[in-house]
């Protein structure tokens, strides 16, 4: 036994011991809490440092605003939640027990006003008889109107704990994937032994622990291992693991979730213990860990005892008291009462004594003293009260005493500033149930153990019910060897060091009868025993109903110190056993994880990758305005100085194309290279129209249906050779179409000889459109190629070369309705070709045009696009009914003939122009017969696309109108209430320019 500590006289920290613990006393750090400056040491958490400074009041409870202190020393902490840091980095609800201090740390208490010490809202606790579980559901109903106006705003003002930052999180996050033969979760004695055993087999090992320092309870309890203090053993183990390069130790890393396929989510707090993250270093890193085998050594969490005022600052878990003494060199109180129902809790008296604290009494709920308890009482000379309970903790903002009810039933008042309580231990089995494992109740240890869990998991140490240090060490070693062995690494023997085999004897007491004061079960959510009584009375007896009705276990600690006590109490109330009563389901994350970590790099601008078309650089230099289309950034229009708005620019671009020549980057269109002996047969099954007759060197427009008969996509099919086709898709559907083709080729018609290669990115493809297009192209196309109307007629396609032998493809296609070509060159030449064409085109008055002008011109020609291909239209709806083959089998043939899709009443594509030509049209407007009332029953369809048509000098539109084609000449309303529009439009042919289509042929 170590010699008693003295309080460090030289320290400004009244409760700091002058030796012991893993903290570095040689360095002093300064931090503030609620504006007041305190000091601590490296290795401290905010909680340990506050305790060292004698600060007990750290927060206010959620509902009643009761004063609260520090209950625990780990991630199960329900009370000591603070706002850490400030401004952009403000971090609400941070557990003081998990936050490591650094120089300059600032923390603020939350959920109180005006101050932690004097909180106006604490009147709520006077109203606590009213604010019982579920009282919201019973009131605030009259008058209904007042809910949004009065009641709810009031409730929302009171809601919430800390405040989120008002600005974007300035820190960075990243994600990484790790693969391991053996993943070990928990770095306590069990986990460390498992790591050693596995590491020595040369298996790839990853060890994660939530805390900054390893060692777990062996350090917390100041145990001896192999005859030496645990921290010395720890040092040698860490040294060996560090030497083994197949081992990765992740400290400050919580394994928060177990997912399908041996996949674990873990979050590493890379920089949270520093005043700021170094350049390029993330704040946190999300790990996806894929492990062949997993050793879960996550330990156990101590249960509070449920008695009056058990939430007072100064009432603390016994294990936590030991942690503060042994890990942090802090004694949380000077006059302590130890209250326990088990032997392990009792030994806390010894720890306190050793730390120089006075132990007023050891109150044990059990009638006889076990050997362990006797020994403790003896060694420490502590007064032992058997069959006793602490009926109530006395005090307000800190404990000043305990009312102890003895066996005889009379109350003894004991002065104390600390009540160390232990209600037993709950193994941290959460990760065993995330994918459906079921816990089972253990009647000896009186806790839930993992029942069913994934086969790749092994449990070791306290989580496995191996509660003593000795068992944890041996259990860990065995689990580590076994796990490595099962992944094919020959186990080597490890010597398990000697250690205490402490007693884990316990006789549960789930709540103290007639408590003196409010007895809390879930401290953060202010759920008291009386709320559980009420829930039972009102029929919320299922544990899941109990949880939802009282919000028990729903706070930031997920009821890790509350759930088992609560369900045990419910079991008592309903006369059911605990297993019958059951346990609420645990879900990820094991402890809460910052949303930023899940997003990593993919936030704001980097949310999704950005695809840049070949002419991007040139377009940017030329003042182009871009538009997001899917992941692409496409040139939208190219404003020139003096143009007052986009409309003027787009009009100019359109006029240039219609009268001279324009160039548009259409590289984003999907391009698929299709080869094979059965390529033709294959395409025939995919397209609704016949392609068999398509000649080599020719293109044809084609449409694809879904199997339900709805249009999926359209584009062109070019035949480059006997068995070689090259098709285009819309930009939006490029990926979807390739997937569909692969589906047809591999699954529906695997017997066909067809090879599909996506070539979208191979070609920089430019539409060169307008009467002067050939004159321009002539200047880049190598002379040996004849691109005259005769040599290269409309819908022709050819493999040619440009600019002196650079291979290229030329298509005589037109979306604009003008004579036009599409020219493709290998993408690396895309930038240069654009510059060359613009240069060469000067003499013809060439301009570049973007998606806006493209859209105007296709609308003027009545060509369909995205708004018409909206996933609900049939070929017939959009005027392509004639294309659909009636003979062959193709995707969508059969279901396309269902009556609902053939219904002549279906809105069909037609053109529109405003009766008052000066008026603007808007897509999204609905059509109403001229003199019909604007209501649902008169809804005749809607406008899909509109454009200002320079060629017509007014707006034109395409739309889907009931029996549209039969209504040409009719005047209808384009009704657009959400934009205050109601325009009379005339139904006309959807081709507004060159209806005969002479121009494209030239």
């Amino acid at each position: 036994m170590a010699t008693p500590h003295k309080y460090a006289s030289n320290s400004t920290q009244p409760n700091r011991l002058n030796s012991g613990g893993l903290i570095d006393r040689s360095r002093t750090l300064h931090f503030t809490f609620d504006g007041k400056t305190y000091s601590g040491h490296p290795g401290d958490t905010l909680a340990s440092a506050l305790l060292a400074n004698g600060v007990k009041l750290t927060g206010r409870s959620f509902k009643y605003h009761r004063p609260r202190g520090i209950l625990s020393a780990g991630s199960e902490e329900p009370n000591a939640l603070v706002e850490l840091r400030s401004g952009k980095r403000r971090e609400p609800n941070t557990k003081a027990t998990m936050a490591e201090i650094y120089d300059g740390l600032s923390a603020t208490s939350q959920n109180r006003w005006p101050s932690l010490d004097f909180d106006v809202m604490s009147v709520n606790s006077l109203l606590s008889p009213v604010f019982v579980a579920g009282f919201y559901y019973k009131t605030f109903m009259w008058p209904a109107a007042l809910w949004e106006k009065l009641y709810e705003p009031a409730i929302r003002r009171a809601a919430g704990l800390g405040r989120a930052s008002d600005d974007a999180d300035p820190d960075t996050y990243e994600k990484a994937t790790a693969f391991a033969d053996v993943l070990i979760i928990g770095g306590g004695p069990a986990g460390l032994m498992a790591a050693l055993a596995a590491a020595r087999t040369n298996a790839r090992v990853v060890l994660v622990d939530e805390n900054a320092a390893l060692g777990g309870r062996a350090i917390d309890d100041g145990s001896d291992i192999g005859g030496n203090p645990a921290h010395e053993w720890l040092r040698t183990v860490e040294a060996e693991l560090a030497r083994t390069e197949t081992v990765r130790i992740l400290r400050r890393t919580t394994a928060f979730g177990q997912y399908d396929g041996n996949t674990y989510g873990a979050v590493e707090r890379v920089s949270d213990h520093l005043s700021f993250a170094a350049n390029g270093v993330p704040r946190q890193r999300l790990w996806r860990i894929v492990a062949k085998k997993v050793v879960l050594a996550s330990g156990a969490t101590e249960r509070p005892l449920v008695f009056g005022g058990n939430d007072r600052p100064g009432v603390m878990l016994a294990g936590a008291v030991r942690t503060y003494i042994n890990r942090f060199g802090v004694v949380p109180g000077h006059r302590a009462v130890v209250f326990t129902n088990n032997d392990y809790g009792a030994t806390t008296a010894a720890a306190l004594k050793r730390a120089g604290a006075e132990v007023v009494a050891l109150v044990d709920t059990r009638p006889q003293a076990s050997e362990a308890v006797k020994r403790v009482a003896m060694d420490t000379g502590t007064k032992l009260i058997l069959s006793g309970v602490v009926a109530g903790a006395i005090g307000g903002k800190r404990v000043t005493g305990a009312n102890v009810r003895t066996q005889s039933g009379d109350i003894v008042r004991l002065e104390c500033d600390l009540i160390a309580m232990s209600g037993g231990w709950n193994p941290n089995i959460q990760l065993t149930t995330h994918t459906g494992g079921k816990p089972t109740w253990n009647d000896r240890l009186h806790c839930f153990l993992a029942g069913t869990f994934p086969p790749h998991m092994t449990l070791a140490g306290a989580v496995a019910g191996e509660f003593s240090l000795a068992k944890s060490l041996s259990g860990g070693a065995a689990a580590g060897s076994a796990a490595a062995d099962q992944t094919g690494f020959k186990a080597v023997s490890v010597i398990v060091p000697k250690a205490d085999d402490e007693s884990d004897a316990i006789t549960p007491m789930w709540r103290v009868d007639n408590p003196d004061g409010k007895a809390f079960v879930d401290q953060q959510n202010d759920v008291a025993v009386t709320d559980i009584d009420l829930a039972e009375r009102e029929g919320f007896r299922s544990v899941e109903h109990l949880k939802r009705y009282t919000t028990l276990g729903m706070a930031t600690d997920q009821g890790r110190t509350a759930n088992v006590n609560a369900l045990a109490i419910m079991a008592e109330l309903t006369g059911r056993s605990i297993p019958e009563t059951g346990m609420t389901l645990a879900r990820p994350p094991y402890s809460p994880v910052a949303i930023g970590a899940f997003a990593g790099h993919h936030r704001e601008k980097s949310f999704k990758p950005t695809r840049l078309p070949p002419s991007y650089k040139w377009a940017k230099e030329n003042g182009c305005v871009f538009v997001e289309t899917g992941l692409w950034l496409r040139p939208s229009y190219f404003p020139r100085p003096g143009e007052k708005d986009w409309l003027e620019t787009v009009t100019r671009e359109v006029n240039t194309v219609r009268n001279a020549v324009g160039i548009c980057d259409v590289s984003t269109l999907g391009k698929v290279d299709i080869q094979g002996a059965d390529a033709a047969a294959f395409l025939d099954k995919i397209y609704m129209n016949g392609l068999k007759t398509l000649a080599i060197g020719k293109c044809r427009y084609g449409g694809m249906l879904r199997e339900d008969g709805i249009l999926m996509d359209d584009g062109t099919v070019a035949r480059l050779g006997e068995n070689h086709y090259f098709i285009t898709t819309t930009t939006a559907n490029a990926v979807k179409v390739v997937q569909h083709m692969e589906y047809c080729a591999q699954w529906l018609w695997p017997e066909l000889d067809v090879q599909i290669v996506s070539a979208t990115e191979q070609w920089a493809q430019y539409a060169v459109a307008g009467p002067k297009c050939r004159d321009l192209l002539q200047k880049v196309v190598d002379p040996k190629f004849d691109i005259s109307d005769a040599g290269f007629p409309y819908l022709g396609v050819g493999e040619i070369s440009v600019c002196g032998g650079i291979k290229a493809r030329l298509f005589r296609l037109s979306f604009s309705g003008e004579r036009a070509f599409e020219i493709g060159v290998p993408a690396r030449y895309g930038d240069a070709l654009m510059r060359r064409l613009m240069e060469a085109g000067k003499e013809f008055g060439v301009c570049a045009y973007g998606t806006e002008a493209l859209g105007v011109m296709r609308i003027e020609k009545g060509h369909i696009s995205g708004p018409e291909l909206n996933g609900t239209t049939t070929p017939r709806d959009v005027g392509l009914g004639g294309m659909v083959s009636t003979k062959k089998d193709f995707v969508g043939h059969v279901l396309g003939n269902r009556p609902g899709l053939k219904d002549p009443e279906r809105p069909a594509l037609i053109g529109f122009r405003p009766v008052d030509r000066s008026q603007r049209l808007r897509s999204g407007a609905h059509f109403i017969a001229r003199d019909a009332a604007p209501n649902a029953s008169n809804d005749d369809g809607y406008m899909t696309s509109v454009a200002f048509s320079p060629s017509n000098g007014h707006w034109v539109g395409l739309g889907l109108l009931k029996r549209g084609p039969d209504r040409i000449g009719e005047i209808v309303r384009a009704y657009d209430p959400v934009r205050g529009g109601d325009t009379l439009v005339e139904v006309i042919s959807p081709v507004f320019v060159d209806p005969e289509g002479g121009r494209v042929r030239g």
């Binding site: 980095r89 008889p129 919430g160 996806r288 009705y549 704001e604 997001e628 709805i710 708004p867 649902a936």
Partner: protein, 419 residues
């Protein structure tokens, strides 16, 4: 007899005597030998159906059979958004009826379900999306439903904390339904249960239907984990389990069961008033009256009956969140869970009779069925009682796929995981 009338007065009265006077919110009923109507499924829809059957079509002997605890299904695990901002004529009137029923629900049930109409805002990020929303908003207006198309400035005013400056997909504006909002999920189940119970409905928990008994084709009762129960009519409202229960009557449905995840953060001081949905990623969010940010995204995308999802979707949703509102970067995710969605082939529900006489079907709610709860119960009750569809639910026929009358709001086609 279950609980007294709820009001601030009864609460105060009880406060004086330690709340010892409250009775159970609903009786823990034991199965009787037979009923006029047996409703399978004690979720929102089953309980609402029972309530409206008893209230509007009684007197009837009605039981609701729930395999677990009522409200343990999707009604107890959804993101609580209610709205009637639909596009298609088959849907709008139905969801608007639901909205109207929500608006009077608490007084009707004498239960505060915290129906809170703080608005639902769907953001748009391109001109095409704006026009699609305009089309939808106009359709709503034609049906007498409130809808507003906001430009960017108006959106900024409403939700200034969104990422307007540094977004991958710029926010151009949004479609707003002010009457939309959220409702306290659990309270809906409990409120309907309590109100139905008061009208004599037996709510029977831990009672799983394991088979149907048929006599010359017609359903005459159900086999359950608590024994046989006779019934003149049996009504299915089992959401994610629809295919399983239908299979007991040899029916194959146009439905796949898919998992949808939901997420809640630690409780923080409220700063999000209404509901906001991202139009360029899978992310939508609201803030509960407790302070938790409640958010969600897309389906995991594969058939599942496991009530849990996987990490890729968790990441995808949070990426959406950090794209749209990077101020939540340091807010911690507290819990995430899943529910089993009855995804229909066109994303719209089915409320219809079935080829099996005496068996009625209410299914295909996808992830939109919470908002539908009142109207679903109302119309289903009408169908069960009258054997003809309520007029606002006429389109929800089972045979619409055969006839080509799918109600496909998103235009995704027969791919349930894409709706």
């Amino acid at each position: 007899m279950s609980g007294a009338h709820y009001s601030i007065f009864s609460v105060l009265r009880e406060a004086l005597r330690g709340h010892t006077g409250w009775g159970p919110a609903w009786r823990d009923a034991a199965p009787k030998s037979d009923y006029d109507v047996v409703i399978v499924g004690g979720g929102g829809h089953g309980l609402a159906t029972a309530y409206y059957l008893a209230k509007n079509h009684g007197p009837l002997k009605i039981a609701v059979l729930e395999k677990g605890w009522i409200g343990g299904g999707n009604v107890g695990r959804n993101t609580t958004i209610v709205r009637s901002n639909y596009l298609l004529p088959g849907n709008i009137p139905f969801y608007e009826l639901s909205m109207k029923l929500w608006e009077g629900l608490e007084q009707d049930l004498n239960y505060n379900a915290m129906v809170s109409q703080r608005g639902v805002l769907n953001l748009y990020h391109s001109d095409a999306q704006r026009d699609a929303f305009a089309r939808r908003g106009n359709a709503m207006r034609l049906h007498g439903v409130d809808a507003e198309l906001l430009d960017q400035a108006a959106v900024r005013k409403m939700v200034p904390f969104l990422n307007f400056e540094n977004g991958r997909f710029p926010i151009h504006g949004g479609l707003l339904q002010r009457r939309g909002g959220t409702v306290r999920h659990d309270a809906v189940a409990w409120g309907y249960a309590r109100a139905a119970d008061k009208l004599g409905v037996d709510i029977i928990q831990n009672c799983e239907v394991k088979g149907f008994k048929r006599e010359n084709g017609r359903i005459v009762g159900v086999e359950t984990s608590r024994g046989y129960i006779g019934a003149k009519k049996v009504a299915m409202a089992v959401a994610g389990s629809s295919s399983r229960v239908a299979a007991m009557a040899d029916l194959r449905l146009p439905i796949e069961s898919h998992v949808l995840q939901a997420f809640v953060t630690e409780s923080i001081k409220p700063f999000i008033d209404g509901v906001v949905t991202f139009g360029a990623g899978h992310f939508y969010i609201s803030q509960s009256d407790k302070g938790g940010l409640v958010f969600g995204g897309d389906l995991d995308g594969y058939n599942s009956y496991a009530q849990r999802g996987n990490l890729p979707v968790v990441e995808d949703v949070c990426e959406g969140g950090m794209a749209l509102m990077p101020r939540i970067g340091r807010v911690r995710l507290l819990r995430h869970w899943g529910g089993i969605m009855d995804m229909s082939m066109d994303g719209s529900p089915i409320i219809d009779t079935t080829p099996v006489p005496g068996l009625y079907l209410n299914a295909g709610w996808c992830y939109g069925g919470f908002k539908a709860t009142p109207a679903s119960g109302f119309c289903f009750a009408h169908l069960i009682a009258r054997d003809e569809p309520h007029e606002v639910a006429r389109a929800y026929r089972l045979d619409r796929f055969a006839t080509g009358h799918a109600i496909d709001e998103k235009g995704m086609g027969p791919h349930p995981n894409l709706h």
